[in-house]
């Protein structure tokens, strides 16, 4: 369980997150939506302490990581997390095999000889095969994202954080990634946090959706209730998302 209490984060004068409090329960698929540049990635990066919050608590399985200075405590807590980066963040100098096995080497005690077998299985889980010896520069955007997802689940984390998982993907790959996210939860019981500006994705896959606006969660509810929200900002964002989707469909 991840408990967030009074989370604040500012960059200079600009306050990005204002006193955010929310609890993400075990096995939940929690989505944070909002327009680009609103602070969704800042929120998700604070959860794993890639960014240090200015104040507040982030309690992961009873351990507050918001204020700790211990590298070892942070490393221990980060072991429970997988993270899918927006652009994949694959290591350019390593092959797909080495990228996916990276976490296995540092996060687990699995013998090195088992890595190829595990990597193959994880790649199969994300619909890829025979790409182990390719470098990231030889992969398409969609393949990079899938390899990145395979890397983030390789060490079988308890939590996965998805940063804009469908951005830049074609509709087919978007559908595939969507299925993968729901599968990860269904098959592996992984607690997931998704940040996205894709309203449809959030409403389709989440158990709860939060809308981030001006540094605050203006609505946190289940998708069915979220659709009926009376909050003006939520309604406006839903309207724009709907129009944009209609336009996209017309173009397609």
């Amino acid at each position: 369980m991840i408990e967030i209490k009074g989370l604040n984060k500012a960059f200079g004068e600009k306050r990005i997150l204002k006193d955010i409090s929310v609890t993400i329960k075990e096995g939940e698929l929690f989505s944070v939506i909002g327009p680009s540049g609103i602070g969704k990635s800042t929120f998700i990066k604070c959860l794993i302490r890639l960014l240090r919050p200015d104040s507040g608590q982030i309690i992961v399985d009873g351990q507050d990581i918001a204020s700790t200075r211990s590298e070892f405590t942070l490393a221990k807590v980060r072991r429970s997390f997988g993270y899918l980066f927006q652009e994949g963040a694959l290591f350019d100098s390593l092959t797909v095999l080495e990228n996916v096995a990276f976490g296995l080497k540092y996060l687990t005690d699995i013998p090195k000889s088992d890595f190829p077998k595990i990597v193959k299985a994880k790649l199969a889980l994300v619909g890829l095969k025979d790409v182990e010896h390719l470098k990231p520069s030889e992969l398409s955007v969609g393949m990079k994202k899938r390899v990145s997802l395979a890397r983030s689940i390789a060490a079988e984390p308890k939590y996965i954080l998805y940063d804009e998982p469908t951005t830049g993907l074609d509709p087919v790959t978007t559908g595939m990634v969507k299925d993968l996210i729901t599968d990860m939860r269904a098959k592996l019981g992984i607690t997931s946090v998704v940040v996205t500006h894709d309203m449809k994705l959030a409403l389709d896959i989440s158990s709860r959706v939060a809308m981030l606006s001006k540094g605050e969660f203006v609505e946190v509810s289940e998708p069915d209730k979220f659709r009926l929200s009376a909050n003006a900002e939520v309604r406006e964002f839903m309207r724009i998302s709907h129009l944009s989707r209609v336009k996209q469909n017309q173009n397609d």
Binding site: I48, L50, A75, A89, L90, D92, F102, G103
Partner: protein
């Protein structure tokens, strides 16, 4: 009331102080992970090849031709003054061992390997690969910086020894072939007047240069922001800062070494 000039000076001073503080914290982290974690052998060897082995050709050419031109110029000047080239071997050896060997090698390594290190780490920083290291159970200092520090500290002194040797060899070639100095005389000038302390004077300096180049390159890389443009800017700044600092540090270390008699 704020004045643009004083505000600019104040801002620059604050930026410099922040940069020095951040660099000090980075160094603390490098020492922490150097002593507290298992060495990344594969990455360290890879960096030794990238920083050292890949710099051999350019270092060899630079030092060899520097030795040649040193011999040619001092030989001709000596001929003009004394009608014969005197103590050319001594002159070339002293200059190469004490100054040109270490300084030229450091500048070559700062320009070639330092730029590679900054660009590589900078690209990783702007594409979230550094963040990815944290999420995959590795500290970037341990995985990226410690191997690069070790590679600079090991390879720069070795390259300097090579540069010293090739510089003197180049000087000897011109001395013997162009200036007509007998090989035995050239070598005797070196053996008679050059001591191990002269070699150590230059050799010891390279450790300080290596440490400084590693710090500047890694710091600039880790703090890169702003996409591809930011990587280019950080790389240029790292190379310029390293080259200037090599010259500045060289004077102060030389002064200290001279004072203690090395």
């Amino acid at each position: 009331m704020k004045h643009p000039i004083t505000e600019g000076i104040g801002r620059s001073f604050i930026d410099l102080t922040q940069a020095l503080g951040a660099a000090a914290l980075m160094l603390k982290s490098v020492f922490f992970w150097f002593f507290r974690s298992k060495l990344e052998v594969r990455e360290t060897v890879k960096q030794c090849v990238s920083i050292g082995v890949d710099s051999v050709t350019v270092t060899a050419l630079t030092s060899f031709f520097t030795g040649m031109v040193l011999s040619l110029q001092t030989g001709n000047s000596s001929k003009n003054l004394f009608n014969e080239p005197l103590y050319i071997g001594t002159m070339v050896a002293f200059t190469m061992l004490k100054e040109l060997g270490p300084v030229l090698t450091s500048i070559v390594v700062a320009g070639r390997a330092g730029a590679v290190v900054t660009a590589e780490i900078g690209t990783m920083a702007v594409t979230e690969q550094i963040d990815a290291l944290y999420t995959l159970g590795t500290n970037p200092t341990r995985y990226l910086l410690v191997p690069r520090y070790i590679a600079f500290m090991v390879m720069l002194p070795l390259l300097t020894v090579l540069a010293d040797f090739l510089g003197i060899l180049g000087g000897a070639l011109v001395g013997v072939v162009r200036l007509g100095i007998p090989t035995s005389v050239f070598m005797n000038d070196i053996y008679t007047y050059v001591e191990i302390g002269d070699f150590m004077h230059g050799f010891l300096k390279t450790f300080a240069f290596a440490f400084m180049i590693a710090t500047v390159s890694c710091y600039k890389g880790m703090n890169t922001k702003g996409g591809a443009e930011g990587v280019g800017k950080a790389t240029t700044e790292a190379v310029v800062a390293s080259m200037v600092l090599v010259m500045v540090i060289d004077y102060f270390i030389s002064a200290v070494l001279v004072a203690v008699g090395i």
